[in-house]
Amino acid sequence: MDAINANLPTIWLFLVGFFLLYYVVTDGADLGVGMLTLVTRNSEEKKVMMDSIHSIWHGNQTWIVILGGMLFGAFPLFYSIVLSALYIPFIVMLFGFIFRGVAFEFYDNAEWKPVWLVSFGVGSLLATLGQGFALGGLLGGISVQSDSFAGHPDDWLNGYSAIAAAGVVAGYIMLGAAYLVARTEGPLQERSFRLASAAGFATALISAVIYFATSLLHPSMAGKWLFRGESVWPSLFLYFFLFLTLGAFAMYFRSLLRKRQLAPLVWNWLVVIFSFTGLSIGLYPAMIPSVGAAALTVEEVAASPTTLRFMLVVTLILLPIILTYTSYSYWIFRGKITRDEGYENR
């Protein structure tokens, strides 16, 4: 019990990391599918792509709502500083969510349907760009004074965050294409195989640039690469996750070459999980990295122990329940997507 009490903020860091990664691999794929409709010419194919996520995107999106709430509760300082510092990217993401989210129901009811296919694609792109620039803005460093954001509202807009945004766009397209490989067949699946390879190469390349640029930006991360820290463990973990990431990428491309149906998506999940974990180890214990001044650590931004303990108990009871019924609903709608059935026939 004492061990738990002493490490509550770190435990919550892992939980929040889990929520974030679950969101990215599931709704990231949904947003990727959405962006791919923008480069698809055939309206019927666009509709099949939209249908492939129709029954699950909403549940997937809810993980970012959970993530927001849990960050707000467990790390109030992080939540308040990061959201106000990255105001514009987050508002863009929210607008994107609106256009993406209403597209499904409005498509069903509209007479002029193509506009909602566009709304679906553009909304997905906006939400992804918002998330990408927010990630870049956070990892690039936020200037903080007396527990408040003290920088300029466009601090997030720079070369580094543009690379990060490109990485998120490429990564989500990779996830979306791998998802379509698993859920579709015929010409659409053939094209998704090719797109999944191309997006995979782009993501690998941009990820390497992000790792390099982040190390240049934050001396603490560079120090870990060079074994300059007090302990060798962070450095070892960093290299370990780098190799895991490379291995997952290799297996991803191998599964695409062998035309496997579900394996590319699974390897893609591992790519995301390993590369993100590596980046987090590089920056740990900073939760809000800062350029110049001292970064805010996990302990500093956490809520009070009473809150963290109470939330932990409730969350540990809830998570297995959520994962059970979520899996059930995935199971109900498993299999290949063919054609829209329409409300009357569902």
Binding site: G69, M70, I81, I91, F106, T307, F310, F333, G335
Partner: protein, 472 residues
Amino acid sequence: MELFQDQVLLSRIHFAFTAIFHILFPVLTIGLSIFLVGVEAKWLLTGQERYYQHARFWMRLFLLNFAVGVVSGIPMEFQFGTNWSAFSRAGGDIFGHLLGFEASMAFMLEAAFLGIMAFGWKRVSPGMHFFATCMVAFGGSLSAFWIMAANSWMQTPVGGEFVGNRFILTDAFAAIWNPDAFWGITHMWLACLEISLFVIGGISAWYLLRGRDTEFFLVSFKAMVVAAIVVTLLQMATGDGAGKSIFKAQPAKLAGIEAHWQTNPEGEGAPWKILAWPDKQLQANVWEIEVPNVLSLLATYSKTGTVTGLKEFPVADQPPLLLPFYSFRLMVLIGLLLAGLMVWSLWAWKKGELVPERVGRQKRLLYAWMAAIPLSYLAMETGWIVREVGRQPWVIQGVLRTEEGVSRLPAESVTGSLIGFVAIYTLLLILFLLFARRILQKGPNLVDSPVEKGKSHRDINRFLAKKHITRY
């Protein structure tokens, strides 16, 4: 323009606008999902296709309403961090974690089972489908519970202590079951039911008036008349409870709502202003129409009970007056009108007018039910104005002032996002109404039969599913 430089005011307008828009949708989600549980249960119990057709028809409207509610709800959560970061820092310990619970317990449940409810008619058994509908309804009401507990905590912040402007939680249950929570939660939940029943009843009235599918819609209309007996009366009772809770915990808010300036001397009752024009600069009402002793009676059940007046509070701690005062009166008036409509409907029922051959002639009654739709929404919005504007100048009652709760943002950023939200939400509302009208004009599908079709589709899907699994 001075308005576009006042960052605090802009952020307040930003929040007020998005909240006033968003809340229109979840209220119907909550009530309509309970109605769907009811008709689906009736279908399973009686086996009558009519109830299945009711479920299918109202679900279309439900899904449209739900979609707009979800997309306008996500910005609400993020807005606390983007626009109200100082508040988030101060109250995050409890407020944030209640939002986290709302998302993980309620939204997740709704989201996962909504897929089954909307698209699973032919993929799961009727019993499983009914379970999914129940979970969607349960998730909706549960979300109302958590968000109202969080909002009530802003009215009566207990369960911990404020250390240097930051709330440190010591007792989570005390914070959740804060003094305002019971009345806040029940009053709002009943508002959801009341609005939904007038929406369902009002739409049914529209069909009855046109003589379209009369027998079909008489079922839902009469069910809503019965529901109205319980809900309108309970709503008045919880309204009374909520008022007394404000009297005890937020005396300045109560005095503001009632434009009550002077504390009544011992042995004398406080009068209730039917109408008045309160003026903060004068610290008095310019004019007033009052009934003696009624305010004391309402607040304390005693003709001479002491009710603290506004003058006991420093001017800086007094709430705005005109908006809560008139919003409150409008809300109460509508509540009484809706209860009157319930009595009128019962009377018509007793006279034997609510039968297929005669109901179409009850034109006034049916028009009144249609008018009750916008009125019930208006009562809910004015109630929220009383609740939130009445709490001012505080964002957390007595602890953190609203102006101290905002993010340090340049006014241009807030203006920009506000314009964006106004434009997008206006578009959403227009499209929602357009599509809702289309659903209503199309009407229910009265030849839709669940049993045979369902069975064959389910078999086909099972077959297809098996084929695909082996392919993985």
